[in-house]
């Protein structure tokens, strides 16, 4: 079956610490994958998307980076978190007939 996994569900990190959020999909190959951020009271902001291994498109200059080390794995990272990185992070997978979303990660930077 086709599924998407995103973890962790919640994360509290101190300012200046590194970040790694992982998203993996199952049951498909060469998926289009996306990372979105949703700040409090705001819409979904596209951060990165990837159409294949090693192919990353960045939408917004920021303190974050993304990597696609394997076909079905998409990682969101930061070397040093800022307070402004707090938010709800969502991984998404585009399929021919629609989209599937991960369950999200609530990141709080303290």
């Amino acid at each position: 079956s086709q599924t998407i996994h995103q973890w962790p569900a919640t994360l509290v990190q101190p300012v200046g610490s590194p970040l790694s959020l992982e998203c993996t999909v199952e049951g498909t190959s060469n998926p289009n994958l996306y990372w979105y951020r949703q700040a409090a009271g705001r819409g979904l902001q596209l951060l990165f998307y990837s159409v294949g291994i090693g192919q990353i498109s960045s939408e917004v200059p920021q303190n974050l980076s993304a990597s696609r080390p394997q076909d079905r794995q998409f990682i969101l990272s930061s070397k040093k978190l800022l307070l402004s990185d707090s938010g709800f992070y969502l991984c998404a997978w585009r399929q021919i007939y629609g989209y599937t979303f991960g369950s999200g990660t609530r990141l709080t930077v303290v």
Binding site: G43, Y97, G98
Partner: protein, 113 residues
């Protein structure tokens, strides 16, 4: 340009009354269209989708939407609101030529007791 507009950022209705969340798309051709619901700190759950079959689409939790090409609209409706319907709703088109997911700005639905 390919885009979608959710006309209301916030809608508030009383429990038991009808719900209308509006969405208009902008395109030279008809895309597939989806409505997703997001409860606080949760991912997006698919409510319903239009994929060029029947123009009136029924989804989960009593929601439905009607695709109207003449109005370039895909409004979401429900005859009777329930407290559990309080959430954020997103209208999302699927364009075969677009590599990015295009989201509407979202509509926050509040339900008054």
């Amino acid at each position: 340009a390919q885009s979608v507009t959710q006309l209301d950022s916030h809608v508030s209705v009383s429990e038991g009354t009808p719900v209308l969340l509006r969405c208009n798309y902008s395109s030279s051709y008809s895309p597939s269209l989806f409505w997703y619901v997001q409860h606080p700190n949760k991912g997006l759950q698919l409510l319903l989708k239009y994929t060029s079959a029947a123009t009136l689409v029924k989804g989960i939790n009593g929601f439905e939407a009607e695709f109207k090409k003449s109005e370039t609209s895909f409004h979401l409706t429900k005859p009777s609101a329930h407290m559990s319907d309080a959430a954020e709703y997103f209208c999302v088109p699927l364009y075969s030529s677009a590599s990015k997911i295009i989201f509407g700005s979202g509509t926050r639905l509040s339900i008054r007791p």
